[in-house]
């Protein structure tokens, strides 16, 4: 550890340090001490920034993805954004969920509660189980996406749709019907590949 000071000299020459050797140590030159150039620089920078487009986004009416401006825009809502859940239906209108309880086990926040039941006879031989109760407590949920990852049949998905405010806590506990109806207005994004 004896050569630490040598190291300090090797690595210590960053940008600020280099400038300091040319113009004198910060705070010692006349320009620094009178403070006038610093004030002028500040005013100049403020004026330059004043003419730039605003960085503020009117969330939630506006998203950074709607802006169409420079480096913050990709045109659409980010498909990976982890928002509200939906329960997906298959082509015949049945919920895809087979009540295997994997999402319940994978959830780090313990916010999913499922009670399985036998599927109705008219659903055919390919379906044996379905959830009788599927409750998702959105107030407990941390939107980590582990349920989506654990689901072996693509039944629960997170959508880029962000939640709306409610007036009671009970409304934030979504039951099966609510989660299936969420399907109506939210686009199910393409699943990102591993």
């Amino acid at each position: 550890m004896g050569n630490v000071h040598d190291h300090a000299h090797d690595h210590g020459h960053d940008h600020g340090h280099g400038a300091e050797e040319e113009e004198g140590a910060p705070g010692t030159t006349l320009a620094d001490r009178t403070y006038i150039p610093a004030v002028m620089r500040g005013i100049k920078l403020t004026l330059a920034r004043f003419l730039q487009p605003k960085a503020t986004v009117q969330y939630p009416e506006e998203s950074v993805y709607d802006r169409g401006s420079d480096d913050r825009a990709i045109g659409t809502q980010n498909p990976r954004l982890r928002g509200e859940h939906i329960l997906v239906k298959d082509e015949q209108g049945r919920e895809k969920c087979v009540a295997c309880l994997l999402c319940m086990a994978a959830c780090p926040a313990l916010c999913i509660y499922i009670e399985p039941e036998a599927a109705p006879a008219d659903w055919g031989p390919d379906r044996e189980r379905r959830p009788k109760v599927f409750e998702l407590d959105m107030l407990r949920c941390i939107y980590c996406g582990y349920c989506e990852e654990a689901c072996p049949c693509d039944a629960i998905r997170l959508t880029p749709k962000l939640y709306q405010p409610t007036t009671s806590r009970l409304e934030r506990v979504y039951d099966k019907q609510r989660l299936l109806e969420n399907n109506q207005d939210a686009q199910v994004p393409q699943r990102p590949r591993k």
Binding site: Y35, V64, D70, R80, Y143, P152, R191, R193, K194
Partner: protein, 421 residues
């Protein structure tokens, strides 16, 4: 003031604690003073997070500081004993809300070392990019907050714009801005989206002018200099004694960076320098942070240039979930999926204990993990860099003015979530 409340003259009573430092302003002779105990925090605009300092003031001078922690105690470590290895990753996000990605990576690396998993090169490179981006976000905001606490409020607002751009990248990759949860044991949750590298490049190109703006406004600003130079000075030996790490220690001349000294995730492949200053004051910490941002930009550029292709998960290790398409089409993948997800199954780490540390933006973040061979950790102990930095405020700021306490506090970069765990 009533005569009963008037304390004995200071000169008469021998000082129980250390006398004032050099910066102490001597009192007028004969002026009787009374000590005042005030709470700085836990709810104070200049206090970053719910930190509390109980300060005994003598006029404008800070005689004694008692740093208090625990206002954001969330039981993260205890929670680790009840969550599986992968489930704990979501907790690591919440531990450090300035650089969640770095914490994700740190914990995943610790568990991988316990399991003996080697992560594929693409996952390593993406982890490096994400870690360095979070370092950029953390340091830029840290510098801005230092400006804010010293009266340059605009610096903070402008720093926030850049930090949000870092979060845009995180959101694009992981789906979360702040709670990223991007890593998994054995790899990543998913690969980068196709347009992500181009967007990261666009961001780092735009950052250099902002850094120059920031430097131009603060580095030679007389007010900033007088509030920071020679304030909160810590020698190299003191930094070692108090267990400091990260930019605060490097500003005191302690040339230690785990990315260089004990490389992980392929850091040995990248060409970067470790900025070190010897002054050890608040100004040196500011300079070290700014210099580290530039080095991080270099690392990100190099990592993007040679971003390898290939999988992002250690497929052979039986610890990572197979891709969903394979789960639906291949029996082996379906079985592996169920073996990892079913309650009572999942990743079984061997019995043993491990300490693994990574260089997060704030310093050395260590994970001491004890496994008893079941699916959940027996104990997860965190070595947060913030804890050591927060306790060192006492020797740094005692005997100085109240205004200096604010300057020192913001230079330490303490994160309450990580401190209280």
């Amino acid at each position: 003031m009533s005569p009963e409340l008037t304390a004995a003259p200071l000169a008469a009573a021998p000082l129980a604690r250390a006398p004032f430092g050099d910066a102490a302003v001597s009192l007028e002779p004969g002026l009787h003073e009374q000590e005042m105990v005030i709470n700085f925090g836990p709810q104070h605009p200049a206090m970053h997070g719910t930190l509390r300092l109980v300060m005994t003031l003598d006029g404008e001078k800070c005689r004694h500081i008692d740093p208090q922690m625990g206002y954001l105690h969330t039981g993260f470590e205890k929670l680790g004993e009840h969550r599986t290895w992968n489930q704990f990753i979501v907790v690591t996000d919440r531990m450090n809300y300035m650089s969640a990605m770095a914490n994700n990576v740190g914990f995943a690396l610790a568990v991988e070392e316990l399991l003996g998993i080697e992560v594929p090169p693409r996952a390593q490179a993406i982890r490096v990019i994400m870690c360095e981006l979070s370092r950029i976000g953390d340091h830029i905001l840290g510098v801005g907050l230092q400006g804010m606490d010293l009266g340059a409020f605009t610096a903070m607002l402008w720093a926030f714009i850049e930090r949000e751009k870092v979060y845009d990248v995180f959101e694009l990759a992981s789906g979360g801005r702040l709670t990223t949860s991007y890593t998994r044991v054995g790899g990543l949750a998913f690969d980068l989206p196709e347009d992500c590298p181009a967007r990261i490049r666009a961001f780092i190109e735009r950052l250099e002018p902002v850094l120059q703006e920031m430097e131009g406004m603060l580095s030679r600003n007389r007010i900033f200099l007088e509030r920071t130079q020679g304030v909160g000075t810590f020698s190299r030996q003191q930094a070692i004694d108090w267990g400091l790490s990260g930019p605060v220690a490097r500003a005191s001349g302690l040339d230690r960076d785990l990315r260089r000294d004990r490389p992980y995730s392929g850091y040995e492949q990248y060409d970067f320098e470790v900025p070190v200053r010897t002054e050890g004051d608040v100004y040196a910490r500011y300079l070290v942070r700014l210099a580290e941002v530039r080095q991080s930009l270099r690392i990100v550029e190099q990592a993007l240039d040679r971003l390898p292709s290939g999988p992002v998960n250690a497929i052979g290790a039986k610890a990572t979930l197979p891709d969903k398409d394979e789960v639906y089409s291949r029996m082996e993948s379906l079985i592996q999926h169920f073996m990892l997800e079913m309650p009572g199954h999942g990743i079984k780490a061997p019995k043993g204990a491990i300490y693994h540390a990574t260089e997060t933006p704030n310093g050395e973040l260590g994970w001491y993990i004890v496994s008893d061979g079941t699916g959940v950790p027996y104990r997860v102990r965190v070595r947060p860099p913030s804890l050591y930095q927060f306790q060192s405020i006492k020797p740094m700021a005692e005997g100085r003015l109240v205004a200096d306490v604010v300057a020192i506090m913001s230079s330490l970069g303490v994160i309450a979530g990580e401190l209280d765990r």
